[in-house]
């Protein structure tokens, strides 16, 4: 399998503070990978560095092309959709406008309309509320909207930052089921950052464990889930 995303020796900085210390990993095309770690380990920073939202050095290659100094919007235009922490909802706009914004870089009008219908099929609750102001949706609904908005890009790679945050366990299960389906059926490569390690490892096929800005463990998700030492020292369950 070829690597869709290749990250090597990634170092990221917030002002003078270094948050990532030479991170390397790669994502295979079509894979569903999870990046695990405690609070402050650098998971979010890793995603932000891929989209050039934080100052970083090192190599990031997408589909063989270096991302270099591309601006965030130009990284996105390559087909990398990022569902940020906190969901990034356009709260003052309607649900449908949020979905249209997800496809704002596309010009294939009829396909956009059918994609919106596809999102409503994935997430029926969004269809019920399509004229509603997105800020009035519940946390779970907003998370679904954020995922749907990202999919409207027709991305090749989707980055998700703690999609389970603040959601009821049942809703998280639903959401993860849909993510698995999107990965299998739409062939979208997914990288999901999670604190809920148990659930993420059930969903993913590959896993990386990150601690204080370094990768400390990598492998197949089920192997990591079954390795008691890893679980105890890094995942805390």
């Amino acid at each position: 399998m070829t690597a869709l995303l290749n990250v090597s020796d990634l170092r990221a900085y917030y002002g003078q503070v270094q948050a990532l210390h030479g991170l390397s990993f790669s994502l295979n095309e079509g894979s569903l990978t999870t990046l695990l770690g405690a609070n402050g380990a650098g998971k979010t920073t890793t995603l932000r560095a891929i989209c050039n939202m934080v100052r970083s050095t090192g190599g990031i290659e997408f589909d063989g092309k270096p991302l270099g100094n591309r601006s965030t919007e130009n990284v996105v235009r390559l087909g990398i959709a990022h569902v940020p922490q906190g969901r990034g909802t356009f709260t003052t706009m309607t649900v449908e406008e949020n979905l249209q914004l997800g496809a704002i870089t596309r010009s294939d009008k009829t396909a956009i309309v059918s994609d919106i219908e596809r999102m409503y099929a994935h997430f029926p609750v969004l269809k019920q509320r399509y004229t509603q102001q997105a800020g009035t949706l519940s946390g779970g609904e907003q998370q679904m909207l954020a995922v749907a908005r990202a999919l409207m890009l027709r991305p090749r790679l989707m980055l998700l930052d703690e999609p389970s945050f603040g959601l009821a366990p049942l809703i998280v299960r639903d959401l993860f089921k849909i993510l698995g389906k999107i990965n299998r059926e739409d062939k979208v490569t997914i990288l999901v950052v999670e604190q809920n390690a148990q659930l993420a490892l059930e969903l993913a096929d590959q896993a990386y464990v990150i601690e204080t800005g370094r990768i400390v463990m990598s492998g197949k998700a089920d192997e990591i889930a079954n390795n008691e030492d890893v679980r105890k020292s890094y995942l805390g369950y």
Binding site: V76, P84, G88, M93, I104, T105, G139, R149
Partner: protein, 292 residues
């Protein structure tokens, strides 16, 4: 009663101009969170450009359209050259930038066209509108142009992709970038549109206040009052605020003894302060509904 109707209609007419200025101010405020103190001077300079074009023999509406285009381009240029580099600078740096821009435009206009007042033509004439003594054709024209502008802007923001992208960039810039919107250019576009809207206000008010480099000072203060009254976060509110300020100004000037023309401007300032103290979000500056 006729005096009252007359004053209200005249207030709506000048209110239309305040509405345009307020709209221009709000567009830039939405994009960069700063009040553009130079908005009035930009409008004044645009009006001089249109006057100059007419002096060179271009007919009114030709000059009008050309001025819109020039102002739009100049607005973008000002953003790219001056305010894009200041995007991450502290508030006071930006304020200094606006004041500098104000002084520069004012002086350059004085240098090129000097400070003597000039007659400025109205495309609508100044005869009574539909034979009525209540309102002149120019006043009716001002209202008509403003309403037309508002409808066009509404259609633009509600039904075009660029309009949608601009709204997104103004409301959540980071998310806008994450769906692939070039937010920096959306800000520049906002500046261009604000400059063009301001130029309409300038060209419409010039036949009333006469053309000279300081003509927009009072108008801009009323525009600020309108924007604050309506709510700086609401373009719709800014427009309503504009009309309300126009009517209020006229009625106070007419009915409260001793105010007259001289004390009208302090009324606008008093209005700004009152709104900021009593209802800081303004009449229509809705607090955003958020559930977490």
């Amino acid at each position: 009663m006729e005096l009252f109707t007359n004053q209200v209609l005249a207030g709506i007419a000048t209110g239309a101009i305040y509405a345009c200025m307020a709209l221009a101010v709000v567009m830039i405020y939405q994009a960069i969170d700063h009040l553009n103190f130079a908005q009035g001077e930009m409008a004044m300079f645009s009006t001089f450009i249109s006057w100059q074009l007419m002096q060179w023999g271009i007919p009114y509406w030709g000059a009008f359209v050309l001025t819109l285009a020039i102002s739009f381009a100049a607005g973008i240029l000002i953003e790219r050259l001056l305010f894009k580099p200041l995007a991450k600078a502290p508030i006071l740096t930006n304020v200094a930038g606006f004041i500098a821009l104000y002084a520069i435009i004012n002086s350059v206009a004085g240098l090129i066209w000097d400070f003597t007042i000039k007659q400025y033509p109205s495309p609508f004439g100044s005869s009574p509108f539909l034979g009525s003594q209540l309102i002149s054709t120019h006043q009716a024209g001002m209202i008509g142009i403003t309403v037309l502008l508002l409808i066009l802007l509404y259609l633009f923001f509600q039904f075009t992709r660029v309009g949608l992208a601009m709204r997104a960039a103004a409301s959540v810039p980071e998310s806008a970038r994450l769906v692939g919107i070039n937010t920096s250019w959306m800000i520049a576009l906002g500046w261009g549109m604000a400059a063009a809207i301001g130029s309409i206000a300038g060209m419409m008010i010039a036949p009333v206040v006469f053309l000279e480099p300081n003509m927009m000072l009072g108008v801009l203060i009323y525009g600020f009052a309108a924007a604050v009254l309506g709510g700086l976060t609401s373009p719709f509110g800014a427009v309503i605020g504009g009309f309300l300020v126009g009517i209020f100004e006229n009625l106070v000037g007419t009915y409260i003894p001793g105010v007259g023309n001289e004390l009208k401007l302090p009324i606008a300032l008093a209005l700004i302060i009152t709104v900021l103290v009593v209802k800081p979000a303004g009449l229509f500056g809705r607090s955003i509904v958020k559930r977490v």
